[in-house]
Assembly symmetry: C2
Homo-oligomer: 340 residues x 2
DNA sequence: AGAGTCTTCCAAAGCGCTTTGGCTTTCTCG
DNA sequence: CGAGAAAGCCAAAGCGCTTTGGAAGACTCT
């Protein structure tokens, strides 16, 4: 059942039927009702390919997925996706993932924009002066950045959490508890979130006349194993830290294992605070020693990004508004006063 | 730059240019070269929307993503996606995720097929007599099932791993080590994979005249917490099992924690084997006691599914061939002879 | 009653590609 | 040398929708 047939059986022109269906004002309400009714009764659904060709609108939002044998997609991604999908569903938006060589995403961005394959895109895990952000900005497609980039001469729309504030608070708490030597086990420090977290820790330390030793901060892929290794290295030094801030729950698993392997205990010998993106399958309160966290649901962020993308597509949202969500500091058993 | 312009500047018809570009035989090789060359030089890329409208081909593969506030997407999904994306990239295929109410996916399947939104779909986590499989089969769109359904009067194409064989081997090993009371901490037993795993364990036990107590098998969402709870419950009983088979590494984390909380040890008091889908961020060899596993890379499965979908789209693969991959049994420190 | 204004609808022109059917031109071969 | 076949190209008709530019009729107002 296509528009032509529907129009014919209603003895109307395609124009009128199309307009009736799309809510244009220049059609009699009575006629509109008739059309709507017939459309529903015959299960008419406009062909999206045709509509796309005519309007350029796709009803899809895009994401360029970095791939490659050595590229691991974060488990965070799936949780973000849950939120995004949940919102997208309610607005009949689909999500198209365009896999790209991790080292050449530009080609793919250009392609999906030039081809009008999606109405908007989002960008995640941005770095300072991220080329993707600059690119989509010049390409002129609506977009939202999940996280923040920095150092551009233009503004852009983003949704981020207050990473610096979160880790500042976490560090401040540890310092108040008497810790003097903190360590930070961070994610990839080429990404903005990691930079902000480190900045937060440093700022808290500086406020008390302390500082973060270079040897006490490390930047690694956020796996359990890397958490373990980093912790072993940290705790086997002479001036081992008495408190650790850690950028992910998964790494925290490794931290806990390392501490145990060394015959030490949490929080007796080492206090630990990790960032929790709120995975349903791994909860900080269920760690052997309940884990203190800086908490922010990445799933909610996904929903919010979808919401803003939808708003931008339909023209409800404009401009370069960035929003920064506060992060909860949740104190549990894994922190205590400094030993000695 | 569209076809019309390109044709005009080459002083050829659109027909000829189109044919030259698409490899049709009725065009002079010399002409084809000229066309190809000009196309490349001017960066001509056919407009996919137009091509779609004309041919019905989209260059996209589809997945219906169950969503809802209470629906969690598995971290397995992202790893599968890595593999899928990696292959899809090399074939210029995009993946479209269509979010659907978890309780009404049928509407979405019908929509994406009726609208010709994708060239093929895949289905994951199937159950016996899965309605989605029956549906896409009747809808007539090319598809691959990742996993297996059962109980249809038709055949279909799938890629699965030998879950029954894997857990049969695992159980057999435990039995050989003298264990008599096994337990199975399984995933959702409405899904085929879980049914097959349970069957494998039962078959191994039966072969030695043993059986799996109903109280020793449980079916839960695969979270750390559920692994913990199940293990506590199991080990606090009178006839507590001496060996546990577990359907995921994440649950195994909970198992390990529970065993420790109870003052018991692995493998001294309890042997443990878990299934490992091979996550880069959590490795069984790095558990405090290195974990024995049945191992199969879900990422490779993703790549394989993409490969088969691509083959089906281009007509290279036909028929209802199902393939079942063997699973490695990797023995590490978490298994030992039965205590006592 | 005639001019002007709405209201309501329509024919037709795109959107950019593929594909059908046919028209020249060249080649082949008895 | 002329008929038939093959090669190489083209014009035009879709694909199914939106949107432009009217047109016809109904209504208002002087």
């Amino acid at each position: 059942m296509n528009l032509k047939q529907l129009a014919h059986m209603l003895a109307l022109s395609q124009t009128t039927v199309s307009r009736a269906l799309n809510g244009y004002p220049e059609v009699n309400e009575e006629t509109r009702r008739r059309v709507m009714d017939a459309a529903k009764r015959h299960g008419y659904r406009p062909n999206p390919s045709a509509r796309r060709l005519a309007t350029g609108k796709t009803g899809m939002i895009g994401y360029v997925l970095p791939t490659g044998a050595s590229v691991d997609i974060d488990p965070h991604f799936v949780e973000f996706l849950s939120g995004l999908g949940d919102y997208a569903r309610s607005h009949e938006l689909d999500l198209v993932l365009s896999p790209a060589d991790a080292d050449d995403q530009e080609t793919t961005y250009r392609r999906i924009v030039a081809n009008r394959q999606v109405d908007a895109v989002y960008i995640s895990s941005p770095r300072p002066a991220d080329r993707r952000v600059a690119l989509v900005n010049t390409l002129g497609i609506p977009f939202i950045v999940h996280g923040r980039s920095e150092g551009f001469d233009f503004d852009y729309a983003f949704t981020d959490i207050d990473n610096e504030g979160a880790f500042h608070e976490a560090a401040r708490l540890l310092i108040q508890l008497g810790h003097r030597r903190l360590a930070l086990i961070n994610g990839d420090d080429r990404e903005t979130f990691a930079i902000h977290r480190e900045r937060g820790v440093r700022r808290a330390l500086a406020a008390s006349g302390l500082s973060l030793s270079e040897r006490h901060v490390c930047s690694v892929d956020m796996t359990e194993e890397n958490g373990y290794r980093a912790t072993r290295r940290l705790l086997e030094e002479d001036d081992a830290p008495t408190a650790i801030a850690c950028s992910s729950l998964i790494m925290a698993l490794g931290v806990v294992r390392a501490v145990r392997d060394l015959g030490l205990s949490i929080p007796g010998d080492v206090s630990l605070i990790a960032h929790d993106d709120v995975f349903p399958w791994l909860r900080p309160e269920n760690f052997s020693v309940p884990l203190s966290t800086t908490r922010s649901s990445i799933r909610l962020a996904g929903a919010r990004v979808a919401e803003r993308l939808a708003a931008r597509i339909s023209g409800l949202e404009e401009g370069a508004r960035g929003e920064v969500w506060p992060v909860d500091l949740v104190v549990r058993g894994s922190v205590a006063g400094a030993p000695g």
